[in-house]
């Protein structure tokens, strides 16, 4: 099986990279939406909402992503008699994973906004949601951007684990190609370089944002 040329291997890996990027985007958008709701619950004065959100975040931050994927794909689908496709299972599992971490990051940013801002906007007669929308969140968003971009790197790397439930993305495709070509050294190196090209620019961007914002005060 020496039919595979280097170009063919690379071309196949790049095709699979498309699905890595697609899954990352789904996880990031889905996780962002759920994460925003979780963050609102987490900072709300209501103890029930707060507790539920805390429980959710604790569970997803204290279990391995691979276990969450197994639980979703093999566990939940059996209990509810669903026949989840790998796409659905991977999308849900990576979104819930992302949502927990983003909720935690964003909660940190909201809490980093000085308390005086809450008090001042309260004194101006704004209600809770108006306080959030007009005063707190605009400042928190600014603070949260560097870590949010940084976490995108973790999401992209996390999608590699979707390969264990059979989702065909870069890692899965690298395994298949290395099984056919018997060139694991070359194939996994190439896959690593592709991941690096996806993640490193984001890491650099995140660090630059951090420096910019820390000077802005």
């Amino acid at each position: 099986m020496e039919d595979f040329t280097l170009t063919q291997i690379l071309a196949n890996l790049l095709i699979a990279t498309k699905w890595t990027i697609a899954l990352s985007a789904i996880a990031f958008i889905g996780g962002g939406l759920v994460g925003f709701l979780l963050m609102l619950m987490r900072i709300s004065p209501n103890p029930v909402l707060k507790g539920l959100s805390l429980l959710y975040i604790e569970f997803f931050e204290a279990t391995p992503l691979i276990m969450q994927l197994f639980l979703m794909f093999f566990g939940i689908s059996v209990v509810f008699g669903l026949n989840l496709s790998t796409w659905t299972a991977a999308s849900i599992a990576l979104s819930t994973y992302t949502s927990a971490y983003l909720a935690d990051i964003w909660r940190g940013s909201v809490e980093a906004v000085p308390n005086g801002q809450w008090e001042a906007s309260r004194a101006l007669g704004l209600g809770y949601f108006k306080q959030l929308r007009k005063v707190i969140l605009p400042q928190a968003v600014r603070l949260s951007i560097p870590s949010t971009v940084g976490f995108a790197v973790q999401v992209i790397k996390g999608t590699s684990l979707a390969s264990v439930i059979g989702f065909i993305e870069l890692t899965r495709s690298a395994s298949s190609i290395s099984n056919v070509t018997f060139q694991p050294f070359l194939v996994y190196s190439l896959a690593a370089v592709i991941y690096f090209c996806l993640c490193f620019p984001l890491s650099l961007w995140s660090r630059r944002l951090e420096r910019q914002f820390s000077f802005g005060g």
């Binding site: 204290a62 197994f70 639980l71 566990g75 059996v78 590699s160 194939v187 690593a192």
Partner: protein, 224 residues
Amino acid sequence: MDYIPQFSVVWNNVGLFVQGVFLTLQIVVVAIALGLILGIAGAMARTSGNRLLNWIATAYVEFFRNTPFLIQLFFFFFGLPSIGVRMSPWQAAVLALAINFGAYSTEIIRAGIEGIDKGQIEAGMSLGFKKLQIFRHIILLPALGKIYPALISQIVIAVLFSSVVSQISAEELTFVGNYLQSRTFRSFEVYLAISLIYVALVWAIKGVAYGIQKKFFTFTQYIR
């Protein structure tokens, strides 16, 4: 919902789960010990002022922080044998986890070293502290106190990452889960139990870490 969960598969195999926890801890402890050595060496190289050493350490850190752990693991276990480096699953698992942990801890320890205030050392000297005392009280302890929380988070991440090594059939907690699942088909019960054990493990580590922090590093709250 016709499915009736039966947790007897969990109760009947408690021994296996306990064994899995010990195997996981074994891998993690060895990997963290090796990884810390790498991290200290990396941080020394990053702050040495030697450009070549700095470049090598930076390349190491960036490469391993910007590629997935699973790919690193596959590279060590499946890739390296083709250039003659053969490892057992356990060895490959520990090595991959250690090198990954080393990359992250390099950055953490470097931040600790760079955070040391020169003025504090001068103040120590003018107070008549001996060299060893300065190293212990003014350099080492405050730096450790500062990097401690980040290091604990990284250790928790290492515990969670260790589950991935089941993919090269290294035996640990997740491997036990897959084994039981494939024999009993009770996937939901088994994976839920394993998940909760990880939660307990992470909480135990955080609890112990918090106790140590309260005992040894309470002073760090007074350092800027």
